[in-house]
Subunit: 267 residues, 2 copies
């Protein structure tokens, strides 16, 4: 079984970059055809999310027509992943999401790995996210995959505790794949159903995440709960209900996402 | 008295950028010739620290000879600040430094403002930093100044609590200047005396800030205290003593600074 692990799809998310480099130096002794790679070398060098366009929204057929560095990379990565059975894509978030396993396909193998990890590790939750209008994820290149979304951590720096936590989860994922372990149980998951933008006037922010909401990823948001506070100190309350995730993710300001709302389901 | 307030010297430090924009919309009713400006428009637009070179190391005579966007900006800002008596420069840090007032000149007015703020606000400490070999700070353009260094907060996002805390300190600084208040007391300060780099091999990181040190800005570091942990889980201990600041500041990875050591003094 060929298993690929990608770090640095976003060049300023250091955890995955250094974890891939570490595993290249000290290859795990595991009976898998292990393929480790850094996805966006120029963005890693510049310590930026991307050079021209978000690489993790660049894998669709339409996007690939334009002339941008990340579309070139996406084509190469697509070829590179053609023989892979499974992909583990490493990311970080500034939101307080622990080690979230993001599922973006519905196949049994991906679900299996996600469920075993979520059952074994307290800090692991399953989030299902089947894509965005912005463009397709790297996961679309392979039949099966999980994304490890680790946080909270700032862009451009390393947090040792989170690093070792993520490494433990990653190594366990490889073991599950090697042993072909099955999850014969149901588990809860969070399905992303809606994006909520910051308050804006003429495109410009006029408020921030309310301190009451900040850091409360996966807690239930009710109608009337404060979600934003304006620069002149007025509260804005929620019109919607749901479990909020990706609260105050730095990279999503430009995507006009202050947080995502999810619904709980079971897999 | 002409008082300038600059935000966005670093384009991904959103607190100062939005605070300046807020004060431009709602000018404080204070009897000062108040001048508010955004220092690095292109970097703000790109949400990056800088385009070509760190603007806050671009104010020296040597640097100004080269052809880079930030050197152009530095020249314009130098002219712009020629008539200013006082500058308050707004920054953020990923380190747990509260609202640090950085003094980079020795004049009485700057010390005065810093001391009153540090005496009144629990979260305010004074750090003296008289420059770096990399290039001169924006503070070198004016006779008197303070820098507000607010953290911890990630680059590229806003934290409402820190924002309003910083705003309160900033407005108090303006009041001190307007009233010409004097600080007839001594106070402790932290003088930056040394930079400590991450463990590296051939320039490449092989360790991170130790969890024991992370977030412990302004606490005393003794010889033998763990400061780094390598990717393969070995502890590295300190050879030096002192109060550590700027611990794990994202922007200083490329400057080869994992943290700064300070000595306590009194002003």
């Amino acid at each position: 079984m060929r298993v690929s692990i990608s770090g640095g799809v976003h060049g300023n998310e250091l955890l995955g970059i250094y974890l891939v480099k570490d595993l290249l130096r000290h290859r795990p002794s595991i009976d898998l055809d292990l393929d480790l790679f850094l996805a966006n070398p120029k963005a890693i060098e510049a310590c930026r999310r991307y050079i021209d366009y978000d690489l993790n929204r660049s894998f669709g057929p339409i996007a690939a027509k334009e002339d941008r560095y990340e579309f070139e990379r996406a084509k190469k990565i697509k070829n590179h992943l053609a023989k892979s059975d499974f992909l583990i894509d490493l990311h970080t978030t500034t939101a307080n999401m622990g080690i979230s396993v993001i599922l973006s396909s519905q196949d049994a193998l991906s679900q299996n790995v996600a469920k075993i990890l979520a059952a074994e590790f307290e800090e692991v939750r399953i989030v299902r996210w089947f894509g965005t209008e912005e463009g397709e994820f790297i996961n679309s290149c392979v039949p099966s995959s999980i994304t490890l979304e680790c946080g909270p951590v700032c862009q451009g720096l390393l947090d040792a505790r989170l690093y070792f936590q993520a490494k433990k989860v990653l190594l366990r994922a490889l073991e599950i794949l090697q042993k072909g372990q099955r999850a014969d149980f149901e588990l809860e998951c969070y399905d992303i159903v809606e994006y909520v933008d910051f308050p804006r006037r003429d495109g410009e922010l006029f408020g921030m995440i309310h301190p009451h909401l900040l850091g409360r990823d996966f807690s239930y948001l009710r109608q009337g709960d404060p979600i934003f506070v304006t620069f002149d100190h007025k509260e804005i309350t929620s019109q919607k209900e749901g479990y909020a995730v990706f609260i105050n993710e730095a990279a999503y300001y430009e995507k006009k996402i202050a947080f995502c709302l999810t619904k709980k389901d079971r897999i």
